[in-house]
Symmetry: C2
Subunit: 567 residues, 2 copies
């Protein structure tokens, strides 16, 4: 569909997003659909006119590693400056950080449009604005006053530096050292990898938000957060070397760097030994920004497939002319399956964003803790649902286009390549699934899950279309009780963790689908949304039952692995 | 696993492949496991030593379009000549065509090894040997004596030219014209596209096996089969122009050409107006060759993932050193799921090949018709199961490798790109599904399905592990009866055709899995195979039930499509 139609759909979904009453109660005046619609309309035009034309160049020219520095594609910098100038970096930042104090829910809708146009381009905005929000709260006045205004203006950029060659998902094994000299200055030495936009020529300076080991305390207790500038303010080197950029399958416009730090001067952010805690909110926000990524790319692929299916003629009565392939039942099934997942992924992303808004804006500590628990439950789901949505829908779009989809004449192969990384970065599917099990279900005693079940059940009516969702909520509760009882044999639960995450996704998706059926209205936009949601609900029981079964098969079936291990 | 271990696994699977008794009865002496094992051992070494080292160059240099001709990558031609010299083109050809008269079942096993090493390389062999087999039967003596020896020696190559810009899946709309001049010579004019190896410098001449319209009879009745040489025997042009090659997502080593024919001289093969019928066996054989393609690429990806998971250390008790990720339950689940599908896909491919052997070698017409019916049922299943296996397992391997898998330092992203086309060429998934419904179930009254059900049920014992397969066979029978009753409302059945094809795949897979559990033996190879098959059976009920439900949801749910059609 066109960007304008996508914008209309987003506006409609925003009107019926869950938890808006609570959001309005916690920040009166914040829910303002008229303003939101105007901003979404702007975002759609910006995505279509400025970002989208750049995506082919980002893919083909990509980012090049030349003489130790990263050079971006022609037009990339101009678009970035335009993006910053138009205020898209400041939308959801608090006023004290120079922001517009609009909700993350609205930002998430805008980001879906930007990601549809180019995920590689849109990715740079996330560390910028989340680092600005983090520094505003956690940094001392000097750093705050120097960095926050320049991050929100887009003059400088930020990264998040966590992974190392031997510490990917396993943060506790970080080795990069931070030493405080007798001059009171911290200096960082070590290697960091998988750093998105770790170097580039889009801004004049880059601030690396870096976890490093500042003491001998083991595991994460020895980690502190630092801000490491790429250079001094006047451009003098700071012991930061760009070792290489990764040659990737896709997302070529977003340089993925290996960085070496050799005594680089750094500023401690937050308390020593509390690095992960200081980064907590920034990491949650970065995870939230993954949700509109997959949905946006899926929407791009779906739109191409719909257009192609309308134009391409093939088959039909041999005596007559060929018919548009969109008239074939199997093609319709493919397109509607894609559309259904996109619409549900969109709803899940907005719901997760609304809960993040509440977790930031609720004043009473208890209410806030409740929203944080719900956010922590919803974020891995929104992130992973969207990641797999982006890849799967891109692949399904290739299928609709047939051989044409396999060529570079059409954008869907690019979408497939770009989207493949979504289930890898910011925590793989497996890591999200283990987080759900170990932290959310076991450590937090399933608090977020309980809050979700009760919110979802409060929405359900006695209606045949609600029944599949109700049964799926029951399945989820039953499976989670089973997994909860397996704390003493974690391998049995871990063997089903990914299926459990999938079941969570189907349960949240079923709830969203039912809300869409109920509230979307009967005009054309409403009928589209409802039709997609119904399509999802019709397959829900069957799909949820598989995951419920797979989640509880236990680990005994993995014993055969030993026979696979010998060379 | 190593090529040697893959070869051992293939030998074991061949020992217990279905229908070998019938094959031996129809061609005494043909089942010769000792010879087969020796040949598979050779094939494994050839794949590993000669083909595999070439695959990176085929991907990166690919095939280039230079001055109207296609140039292949360095080393490609030498490997092709070596392949031909070692007799791999003649393995399963009849003696009268210069072949070794070995069964397709054995060839399919060898092709899995070659495809693991490089699907782009292996693809050229298929039209060569299948065209040789076809010409041996259908061509006049002059063409036969000139072409067959040179095709089997690898000196000349062949293509199959069916698709046109407006006739992809819809063969009846082919427009390319064949006119017979007053000199009795046929001349071809028109455009053909998606021609694999439509041009290259690996051989001195290429023969295009081409469907063209030789009369005004509508649809397929106006189509005849022609052999159109790229040049005369002494190299003079024949009005065949290479218009361009496609820039594809993967399979860069296999040039996909658009060809223009302008009065190209051609020889009629078989009877006029019977082009599709003359091509029938060649097309079946080409479809069969797709089966080891997906399995081979999946095996390549699985092997890389297994090796990586053994070497890469991450996670585990924070107080101790990191553990190989292969020890984590979720990684084991991923690897075993991949291994299970590979082992089942391998078994399905060999079963389909054995039935193709029987369809070629049975002497009694009635028995032969029965085997043909079963082959036509099994081929779309083997083709599509394998196509999706290749892509899915490549993607799952990327997931096991994490960020590393997304880079070109590891081969799995290449496997993903290569494998994406398998569900597109030689009939997309949707076309295979409609073939299953319209031709196999409706037109042929489900004869092949019935023969499959009875063969599979004859194998089942009263054993708990057989129960899931038994239930899946029942589900398949029930669903097929339902779809059979929907002949008068084809859209309802077509809306579930792909799910029906998937259900067929799960039923055939369940049968194969049960045979593997029963016959694989208890040594290490046997335990590996059995373990994988058990893993498949444990998920079978849940997965088959979904597809059974989705296959019978009907077309009413597609009505919302109208709302998606407006711009």
């Amino acid at each position: 569909m066109s960007y304008a139609l996508q914008a209309e759909t987003l506006v409609r979904q925003l009107e019926m997003a869950p938890f808006l009453d609570a959001l309005e109660a916690s920040a009166p005046g914040i829910v303002d659909h008229e303003t939101w619609a105007a901003i979404i309309d702007h975002a759609a035009r910006f995505a279509c006119d400025v970002i989208a034309p750049l995506d082919v160049a980002l893919d083909r020219e990509g980012a090049r590693f030349v003489d130790g520095r990263v050079e971006t594609a022609r037009g990339h910098r101009a678009a970035w400056e335009h993006f910053a100038r138009d205020g898209w970096l400041t939308l959801a930042l608090p006023e004290e950080a120079g922001g517009q104090a609009l909700p993350l829910t609205l930002l998430t809708a805008c980001e879906e449009l930007f990601n549809r146009a180019s995920p590689a381009f849109t990715m740079l905005a996330t560390p910028n604005r989340t680092a600005a929000a983090m520094l505003q709260v956690a940094a001392g006045p000097e750093i705050r006053e120097s960095w926050v205004p320049r991050l929100v203006s887009g003059e400088w950029a930020a990264t998040i530096c966590i992974s190392e060659p031997d510490a990917g998902s396993d943060v506790g094994r970080i080795r990069t050292r931070a030493l405080c000299g007798s001059d009171g200055v911290w200096r960082i030495t070590g290697d960091k990898c998988w750093i998105s936009y770790g170097d580039h020529d889009l801004t004049t300076r880059i601030g690396h938000c870096m976890l490093a080991r500042s003491s001998d305390a083991p595991g994460i207790r020895g980690l502190s957060l630092f801000l490491v500038p790429s250079t001094s303010e006047d451009g003098a080197p700071n012991g930061v070397e760009v070792r290489r950029i990764e040659e990737k399958l896709g997302l070529h416009g977003s340089p993925t760097c290996v960085l070496g730090f050799d005594g680089a001067q750094a500023s401690l952010i937050g308390a020593e030994g509390r690095g992960l805690q200081t980064l907590f909110q920034m990491m949650l926000l970065m995870r939230l920004s993954c949700a509109p990524q997959g949905v946006g790319v899926a929407e791009a692929a779906l739109s191409t497939a719909l257009g192609y299916a309308r134009d391409r003629r093939q088959g039909g009565d041999p005596a007559a002319g060929p018919v548009p392939i969109v008239e074939h039942a199997d093609v319709q099934r493919q397109l509607l399956r894609m559309a259904a997942r996109v619409e549900i992924g969109r709803g899940i992303a907005l719901a997760a964003a609304a809960v993040m808004d509440l977790s930031e804006r609720s004043i009473a500590a208890e209410a806030r803790a409740g929203w944080v628990a719900l956010a922590q439950f919803l974020l891995p789901i929104a992130k992973d649902f969207s990641a797999r949505l982006g890849f799967d829908v891109a692949s399904e779009a290739i299928q609709v286009l047939g051989g044409a989809g396999y060529t570079r004449e059409w954008p869907v192969e690019r979408h497939l390549r770009d989207a493949r990384v979504f289930a890898l970065f910011e925590g793989t599917t497996g890591i999200q699934a283990l987080d759900m099990l170990h932290r959310r279900l076991w450590r937090d005693a399933g608090e977020g899950l309980r809050r979700f079940l009760s919110a979802a059940r409060a929405d359900l009516l006695d209606d045949p279309l609600a029944a599949a969702t109700a049964r799926t909520l029951d399945r989820l509760e039953r499976v989670s009780q089973r997994l909860d009882s397996w704390r003493a044999k974690p391998r049995d639960a871990e063997a089903g963790a990914t299926a459990f995450l999938d079941l969570c996704g189907l349960a949240v998706g079923g709830w969203i689908a039912w809300r869409l059926v109920r509230f979307a209205g009967d005009d054309r936009i409403g009928r589209r949304i409802k039709g997609a949601a119904r399509f999802f609900l019709e397959e829900l029981d069957a799909r949820a039952e598989v995951e419920a079964q797979l989640a509880t098969l236990g680990a005994g079936r993995l014993d055969v692995m030993d026979d696979y291990l010998a060379p």
